[in-house]
Amino acid sequence: MEIESVVTFCRALRERGLSVTPAEVVTAATVLQVIDTSDRDEVFLSLRSVLTTSVDDFPVFEELFETFWNRSPRKLVERDSGTTLRARNISQAKGLAFFLEHWSASVRAGAEPVKVPGASDTDSRAQKDFTDFSHEELEQISQLARRIVKRLASKPSRRWQPVARGHRVNLRRSLRLSLKTGGELIDLAYRRRRAKRTKLVVICDVSGSMDMYSRLLLQFVYGLQNSFAKVESFVFATTLSRITGELKNKTYRRALDRLASNVQGWSGGTRIGASLANFNAQWLRRIDKRTVIIILSDGWDTGEPKQLTHALSKLKERAGRVVWLNPLLGNSTYQPLTRGMQAALPFINVFAPAHDLASLRALEPHLVL
């Protein structure tokens, strides 16, 4: 087995999206000197452990190794310069966007993701079917949610808290402790910065116009909910319901089952103003300056804009920050011209898109107070 063919193989892997660095190419070449290169399995297993960095890489590796082993380097090069393969690869790499396209296509065939039917007053009691959801996508979203939550929880406050082990000596306590040993400092006490606790309130629009995003966003809310104690979540279409309890479930599937059976008016029309007023009436007391409010909605409102203005101004007064996530903002031609959105804009601290994983990722800094 010549070095050239290993290099070609590595190049082919790189073309297919694996991160194979020159250092790994060198390692791969070294490996071939210490193993029996006539044994297919041995070569396969050895190169796999050097050239892959995750189990996700295995399928591509296996596929290319087959070509590589059958010693048709020409074929290999042909394949990786082929545009069809690369095109498929790119669409796979897009991940969430790709998935969203497919999902929206299956939900309403032929519809453009941005052409959203207008909000309406129909209060449909349709049960949503949550079954066909790519597992990987879900996992990515939950991972992101966990990361955000971790950042929220690890922001240091200015206050101190005594701890058993740490880096900073708690002088006061240590001196106090030293009285036990006749004024000799033997045992040290420590302290550290208290973690700042940000509370999150997520209010998610699940009306018909948000249909294709709400499942995705709910996964995000679920992720937040289950890694952070202080998250309250609500959904609304025409009426508001609290879903904190429903989401506190071990698996997303089970949480969704409970949601589908307990929440009414799924995919119906939208009354944002009324729903937020409803929220204020019941929950405003619990909101303080350490609370970040996240509203996920496209702003298609069939209610009075005045009601929305009123509700939001009250909310903003009490909350630390109001973040409005609008999936439509992902489209560059979108302008927040709907009456609802116009009424809401003056009372929002952060107005951001939420149509794919990247936009959710960009959200991270906004959530930290």
């Binding site: 193993i35 041995e42 452990s49 050097v50 995750s54 189990v55 991972q143 033997i186």
Partner: protein, 283 residues
């Protein structure tokens, strides 16, 4: 390579060619081995079996959130230093001498990483367990230690490894590890074992078990993993269950025995309910 496989088998660890290859390369190239896979498939066992097979020390660093350099590498034994100073208070030694004395190796608390580097006799196996549970900062720190196997302690100087330890890292994929760390390591993925392999493991680890029973038990376990439970039982659970059955002197899996021992492999009430309804469906 076959040699390694045999060596591991002698440790009652059922290795497949993949694990043996990965371990062989890790030793031949002196690179750390990163093992990923679901919980309870025997990732940690690899390091234990390797240490036994090489007849060397196993040094284990269990990672957790908030693990930092002092708990992983070294720490000064502060109370001992203080007491020493107290005792030496009336001695004629100069201040500089006293300081040199208390920052000597006798006052150094060696944590796992430093232990692994300063092991004198032969290269130990360093197991860094559940690296995904540590913070990103710790991962970066670890990267530094794993690349040169040397540690600088300001008061003493640089300590270089006499023998490069064999490093095995495990991860449950609860978070993404950095690319830099992944690239520095050889990679191996362990999945749940096939029926035959699991049967082999059960018979090797629980030799007292009845042949027919072990077959039924592994079949149930294999089926259980496809039920979409929230906590999928691993090989460790299979072995627990097998041991429980042996202890109860069970000869078959009837309803009574199942009810008594189901807690060995299902640890969640909702899962038990799912399992039971699935069982009724198949009956």
């Amino acid at each position: 390579m076959r040699h390694i496989q045999q060596m591991l088998e002698r440790q009652v660890y059922i290795a497949d060619a993949g694990i043996a290859t990965a371990l062989y390369l890790s030793m031949a190239l002196g690179k750390p081995l990163l093992v990923e896979g679901p919980a309870g498939v025997g990732k940690t066992e690899i390091a234990k079996a390797l240490a036994n097979a090489l007849d060397t020390k196993l040094i284990r660093l269990q990672c957790y959130e908030g693990l930092d350099a002092t708990t992983a590498l070294y720490e000064w034994n502060y109370p001992k230093q203080l007491l020493h100073l107290k005792l030496e208070e009336s001695s004629p030694a100069s201040e500089a001498e006293k300081e040199a004395a208390i920052f000597g190796e006798a006052f150094l608390l060696k944590r796992p990483l430093l232990q692994a580097i300063t092991e004198h006799d032969r290269a130990p196996v360093l197991l860094i367990d559940e690296i995904d549970r540590s913070d990103e900062e710790f991962e970066a720190f670890l990267l530094e230690v794993l690349s040169d196997f040397q540690v600088t302690i300001p008061e003493i100087g640089t300590i270089k490894a006499t023998h490069r330890p064999h490093v095995v890292l495990t991860s449950n994929r609860s978070r993404d590890l950095s690319d830099a760390l992944r690239r520095r390591c050889l990679y191996h993925w362990i999945d749940y074992p096939s029926l035959d392999k699991e049967l082999e493991i059960v018979r090797a680890k629980v030799p007292a078990i009845d042949k027919v029973l072990s077959q039924r038990l592994t079949r149930v376990m294999q089926a259980t993993r496809t039920m979409g439970l929230s906590k999928i039982p691993g090989v460790a659970e299979t072995l627990d269950w097998a041991n429980a059955l042996v202890a109860l002197q069970a000869t078959e899996l009837n309803d009574e025995i199942m009810a008594e021992t189901i807690g060995c492999f299902l640890k969640d009430e909702a899962d038990i309910a799912t399992f039971k309804s699935a069982q009724i469906a198949t009956d």
